[in-house]
């Protein structure tokens, strides 16, 4: 698709893009992956510690400790975002801070802060899910499809 589009460009533009590509600083993909792996893994480790903490000191089981763990991570992210630390972490860790639940929380919270100047209803209310919205839309849609498939298969094979 991208190649097809490129072929439609005049030769002058194609030549320029080749020249430009040579000078363009490439994303350090491998370095980014390693950083993302380490930081992302570290966040998960913290999550695990929190879970263990809730199971040990409170009346939670492995099944029920998930919710308070996520809530704790979200609250921590809220402070890190509010104090302007999370975006610096994100620049360093990339996917490492974007993929875990903290990344989702940061997307919601940063949008909410950003649009505070337009008021609570049309600003915060409307724009809070600007970045996180697609995750919810396609998350719900994907789980619906999977549930449908599962029901079909169990009905067909199960009986």
């Amino acid at each position: 698709m991208a190649d097809q589009k490129k072929k439609q460009l005049p030769p002058e533009a194609q030549q320029y893009q080749a020249l430009q590509a040579k000078r363009e600083t490439k994303r350090p993909v491998i370095k980014n992956c390693i950083k993302a792996f380490l930081i992302g893994g570290f966040i998960c480790l913290i999550g695990q510690l929190i879970t263990t903490f809730y199971i040990y000191f409170f009346n939670f089981t492995e099944q029920t400790a998930g919710n308070p763990t996520v809530a704790t991570l979200i609250i921590v992210t809220m402070f890190l975002t509010g104090f302007g630390i999370y975006d610096h972490l994100g620049q360093f860790a990339g996917a490492g801070t974007a993929v875990p639940v903290t990344g989702f929380a940061n997307a919601v919270i940063s949008s909410a802060i950003e649009h505070r100047t337009e008021g609570f209803i049309l600003g915060v209310g409307t724009n809070m899910l600007k970045l996180a919205g697609p995750v919810i839309v396609y998350g719900v849609f994907a789980s619906f499809i999977i549930a449908l498939l599962k029901t079909l298969f169990t009905k067909l094979i199960g009986t």
């Binding site: 490129k6 460009l9 002058e12 533009a13 194609q14 320029y16 893009q17 020249l19 430009q20 000078r23 363009e24 600083t25 490439k26 994303r27 350090p28 980014n32 975002t81 509010g82 302007g84 999370y86 975006d87 972490l89 994100g90 620049q91 860790a93 990339g94 996917a95 801070t97 974007a98 990344g103 940061n106 997307a107 919270i109 940063s110 949008s111 802060i113 950003e114 649009h115 100047t117 970045l131």
Partner: protein, 340 residues
């Protein structure tokens, strides 16, 4: 007077009488912090929104320029300005405060030179005695207009650029006997150049051909060698755009000494500031040129400069609709009056 296809030569010597240059906290840590008239410690500048903060900077830049020139504000005929935000409202509100007849223009980051060229043209033609020409940008307003919320933890690629928080304003005046200051001698108006690049995180790469096109055309139409200028200053190409445009110029037979080819986006910040490829934003070229380079001219370190501001004219919507990035560059030559 028109020479060539689209270059104006100004015979009546429109003069940059004074400049006002305002910066934010991040610029205060930069390489040219001493060249600002006012530096703000806080991004909010005691305002309720970043857009208002940007407006305040524009107002201050205009006020400083008028004050330094030691004239009454009522003498200023026009205010020509623009910015990057929706419907250029921060500039409009600033124009309300400045309270001078106003032209609102948009050329993204090339707004500084577009407004300077128009000011010089109007003054040269006798259409005004004093014109305030300038532009402002704010990192947080541009981030939210073009990219993500300020506190969003997305990773920016090494090609991305950092929008300058600041405002730069020049007071352009009709030349009178004994008037001092750098003279605007010519201007070349750029055309929209689009090489099909689509990455809004690589604006330097997208804008480089526009810069090269305008520089080549300016040199041809004015019939001067690149060495005529002490410096050729591009607006906000950043490290990548500067190199690519340098290569392009070489390819078309324009041989410029690398030291003579500088970029405001690289000049403004220190090497260790986390700005990826360099600074950008409409204020970038205005702040660095009016604050740093014009000052060097007045101090006698530079005699002739070619100021080429580059603008990437996309909108968030045009990018999402998978359009390429249209770019523009305008050039203005500024020269010190010869002693005779």
């Amino acid at each position: 007077m028109l020479i060539g296809h689209s270059t104006w030569i100004f015979e009546n010597e429109p003069t940059i009488l004074s400049t006002g240059v305002i910066g934010g906290p991040f610029e205060a840590q930069g390489k040219i912090a001493n060249d600002f008239d006012i530096l703000h410690e806080d991004l909010w500048m005691k305002q309720k929104s970043f857009e208002q903060a940007q407006q305040i900077m524009m107002e201050e830049a205009a006020q400083v320029a008028v004050k330094k020139a030691n004239i009454q504000k009522e003498k200023v005929n026009f205010f020509i300005s623009g910015d990057l935000i929706n419907q250029i409202t921060p500039t409009t509100f600033a124009a309300k405060t400045v309270d001078v007849p106003y032209f609102g223009i948009f050329s993204a980051c090339a707004t500084s030179v577009e407004s300077l060229a128009l000011s010089a043209m109007i003054i040269d033609a006798g259409g005004a005695n004093y014109i305030l020409s300038g532009t402002a940008s704010h990192n947080a307003t541009a981030e939210r207009q073009f990219r993500y919320p300020t506190e969003y933890g997305g990773q920016k690629p090494p090609t991305a650029q950092w929008t300058v928080t600041g405002a730069g304003c020049a007071l352009v005046a009709k030349s009178t006997k004994g008037s001092k200051g750098p003279v605007i001698t010519s201007a070349t108006i750029g055309k929209v150049v689009d090489m099909g690049l689509t990455d809004p995180f690589n604006m330097g790469g997208a804008m480089a051909p526009a810069a090269a096109e305008t520089i080549i055309r300016h040199l041809q139409e004015r019939n001067v060698e690149p060495t005529y200028y002490d410096l050729i200053i591009t607006g906000d190409l950043g490290r990548i755009g500067r190199e690519v445009s340098y290569d392009l110029l070489k390819k078309y037979g324009i041989d410029i000494n690398a030291k003579q080819y500088v970029d405001c986006g690289i000049t403004i910040y220190k090497e260790d500031q986390p700005v990826q490829a360099g600074g950008s934003g409409s204020a970038c070229s205005a702040v660095v040129t009016y604050g740093h380079y014009v000052k060097r001219m007045i101090q006698g370190q530079l005699n002739r400069i070619l100021f080429v501001a580059t603008g990437s004219l996309h909108s968030p919507m045009s990018v999402q609709q998978k359009n390429s990035i249209p770019c523009i560059a305008h050039a203005v030559s500024i020269e010190m009056r010869s002693e005779s």
